[in-house]
Subunit: 195 residues, 2 copies
Amino acid sequence: MGRRKNLSEDELLDRALHVFRRDGFARTSADVLVRETGASRYNLYSSYASKDGLFAAALDRYNNEIIEARFGPLEQPDADIETVLALFDFYGAAGSGAVAGIGCLLCNSAVEFGAQNQPDAVQQYFDRLSGAFRNALENAQAKSQLSKDLDVGVLSDSLCANVLGLFVLIRAKADPERIQNAATQARNHLNSLRH
Amino acid sequence: MGRRKNLSEDELLDRALHVFRRDGFARTSADVLVRETGASRYNLYSSYASKDGLFAAALDRYNNEIIEARFGPLEQPDADIETVLALFDFYGAAGSGAVAGIGCLLCNSAVEFGAQNQPDAVQQYFDRLSGAFRNALENAQAKSQLSKDLDVGVLSDSLCANVLGLFVLIRAKADPERIQNAATQARNHLNSLRH
DNA sequence: CCTTTTTCAGAATGATTATTCTGAAATATA
DNA sequence: TATATTTCAGAATAATCATTCTGAAAAAGG
């Protein structure tokens, strides 16, 4: 009973997530959160206790939605080298898409926080990316798409770094052709390792 | 004549550069600059007009010292595939070196600023890295270390992204073994392209 | 030593920050 | 409709920010 909130917790989180992703944590003020989400201060502070709390929730949501959508397929039992190729195809085009100048919230946070007050989500993110690649590559070995002699641990860490490099270029709105080139070469490399 | 400054412009810039590199621009306050450099406020503001001015000078110095030291060799006429391999060897070990948790000031700035108020130095940085790789790879082609059929434009953009990915991992103090693996695979890849 | 110039330490300033408070508005229930 | 509850808009608060100001300290030149 009583007055209704002007914005659901979910909508608020979605919009705040976008602001954090665009501006980073430190550069996002409570004022612009209120202005750009359309939520009231009361709504913001009663739904999430603080700016930190809202940010933590945003990292969580980002993981469960964006990272899940992109890397979830690589974690499936049917993932293989084609799944990996598709991922690089996707990010190769991102330089001229909606996230150009925005990037990946988790990669951005990894760099913003560095070693100080780093959210746990950052190392988990590296582990998840590497693990997703590893799963797909091991499946590829099982399917004989890749040689069993290949060190998939080394290769999956390397693909993790490759993707992070793409995220930096996308975030900084680098020349889309450069981004496309970087992704193309990653695909070429993977294809060259094929049986 | 008159009292002497307690710190030369050069020393001040060096120490400020280190703080910016560790904490980023937005998270670095004038107070900690004064405290950690040992310079007086007067010194800081008379030598460099503002925090922005000091940061711009720091980017410049970083370019002329650190980037020059690491990528300068790739820009030489005698650079070749060995020079590139040495670079990845160097950064592969950085996960357990002094810059673990610190990273590259320019990569950090690329991510911190994103598309908004991005210093010119950021795109110049991408151009320089790609160009340095390109020079070394073209030399390698001339020396017949690499096939003339190879698209060195694509490969150099990809190596640029690879290095940026390493910088993210180094910045976030990722597992040193993961960093080493990523660099090792880049080296393996380059070696596999050799004649 | 005295004067002039320069720099120092730290206080002052005014803007911006995150968060809390306040009285009015909205709405659910009785 | 009347009352109780919840939320709203925006003012208030206290901290921190970048930058400027101030009077004293230092040092160079005469």
